[in-house]
Amino acid sequence: MNDKNRKKTAEELGVDKVHLESGIEVDPVYIANDIDGSSVKGEMPGEYPFTRGIHSTMYRKRPFTIRQYAGFASPEETNERFQFLISNGQSGLNVAFDLPTQCGLDSDDLRAMGEVGRVGMTVDTLDDFEIAFKNIDLDKITVSLTINGTAIIAIAMYIAMAEKSGYDISSLRGTAQNDILKEFIGRGTWIFPVDKSVKLVVDTIEYCAKHLPKYSPVSVCGYHIRESGANPIQEMSYAFCIAKAYTDGALSRDIDIDDFASRLSFNFDIYGNLFEQIAKFRGGRRLWAKIIREEYGAKNDKSSWLRMIAGGGGGGLTKEQPENNIIRSAYYALISALSGTQTMALCSYDEAYTIPTEHSAEISLRTMQIMIHEMGICDTVDPLGGSYYVETLTDRFEKEIKKEMKKVDDWGGIINAVSTGKIQESVSKQAYEREMGIQTGKVEKVGVNIFTREEESKDVEFHPYNQEAADKQIEKLKHIKASRNEHDVKACLAAVKTDAENGENLMSSIIEAVKVYATVGEIVQVMKDVYGEFEEPIFF
């Protein structure tokens, strides 16, 4: 008997229909026939279009990188932390910045009041970078700058600091988040109009392609888009549309796709249905490879690799019965590994309500280590390859992500869709529906709306605000402003302005400006004078 005739529908079997968060219906069973036409048959890991992973050996050769996120208020504390990490054999650190730095305001700006050093390191001038990286061997440590609206200035400072210390910048490594388009959808640290914001990202890509070929100037974040309410299909498709917008911009300059595409990476979210997430990554990876090779004509395989960091999403964790988050995070880590991630980071189980303790941070680290060292996750590449269900869903995800990208094209492209608030509108409506789903019990959440128990309500806790440190930072800024060469600062700021007016790449003039200690706020103000500011479409 033909297998096809033996496969029955939910109705025939008398069971409930099941739909994924993305709306895709799941069959009660999958059979060999389902993947008859799948292109994955005969595909090896490390081979185009990389459904099964970007490397032939994957974790067998080297497990995924563990990179936990951390923020430190002052450049001095950041430096201490770097020294500590290096002495412990670590080689990378994410730098978080405070909101004034991210929004282009100096510490002494009235609008920065109460925010200086609150959610990350404060940067007013190059001096702060010089303090943070004092006695750090930039050849040994790779630095990730988590900044977007003012990323071009942060990258310029990193380069200026390295140059001043005598490094050959052509061998400088490191990464910046620098994904401004997702900031318009979630997170909100935009400054300039959308097209000008994209232009600045393209400036960094062009500059790095020409002068810092080992630097990764952009990490496109589906993560924040999903946390804002997007479903897994939208998370991937919007991220790809964003990455394409940067790619198109870069190609309009005098550079080749193979000069920069391999330096683009992605940051994705994990929560929700296990198989749906795995298919999202496998299908997404295949589609991205095809886009880069077929649409953009890349010749180098590395250009079409979907390199990603994927770990636990805060959106899946709960304040209720917080120990359950340890279990959730272990599943998220498993999903990430089964999806062939390059880098992994997990949230601490208690961070929904408190400052993660050393203990909770250690549990996150151990979760990943147990998987690597006890579960055999590194033994074989793409262990789910060939699964009737996973491959069917992977094929479906590739199609659905492509379809959703077409929808964005119909909205006039991602830049238009974000400028008009079209994407923000659809995403926020879904966030509302999901929240209502959880509050009404339609979306089941253990400990929240099912299997609840009376528990002491946990209070949220913040790091106490350090007014003294903020005052010290403002003093330091005053001192630098008094001791720098004002003539040079004015000339350099004027050069930034001229370049902005003439549509030139701003990297060189910003590097010169930061070298004479022009402040982040001053540079941003000059750019605002030319570009104007983004007018947020009011959508909800």
Partner: protein, 129 residues
């Protein structure tokens, strides 16, 4: 009721405030939204321009006490009597402090949308009595 929902300060987390906007509209209220990163002066001006019955401040970065104090000052300076509420990432321990700073009501982290809607319903009834 006509409610102005606002995002004062530099915090860009707007998922919660937009979820609440949808909920309030569904419950029959009129909602005006300020957009991100508004100064308290802008927000109060908007409240006057739109003649709203209530202002909501959504703050998640931990600056709620500083912002609430500013709100109280600006409301007093302008001799206004618009009730205002605070939500976002608010510790239970700060609820009372915020109300002492002039907030009509403060909602701690994890407050359900329907609880906020009930609060507005009660307000509405008290006002129309």
């Amino acid at each position: 009721m006509k409610i102005l929902l606002s995002k004062p300060g530099l915090d860009g987390h707007d998922v919660g405030v937009k979820v609440l906007a949808h909920g309030l509209i569904e419950a029959g209220h009129q909602v005006v939204y300020s957009g991100l990163r508004k100064s308290i002066e802008d927000i109060v001006q908007k409240a006057i321009n739109y003649n709203v019955d209530m202002v909501g401040l959504s703050i998640l970065s931990g600056t709620h006490l500083i912002i609430a104090k500013k709100m109280n000052d600006v409301i007093k300076e302008n001799d206004l009597e618009i009730p205002w509420i605070v939500g976002g990432n608010i510790p239970n321990n700060d609820v009372k402090t915020l109300e002492e700073l002039g907030a009509t009501k403060a909602f701690a982290t994890s407050t359900k949308v329907e609880d906020v809607i009930h609060y507005f319903m009660d307000m509405n009834e008290t006002q129309s009595q």
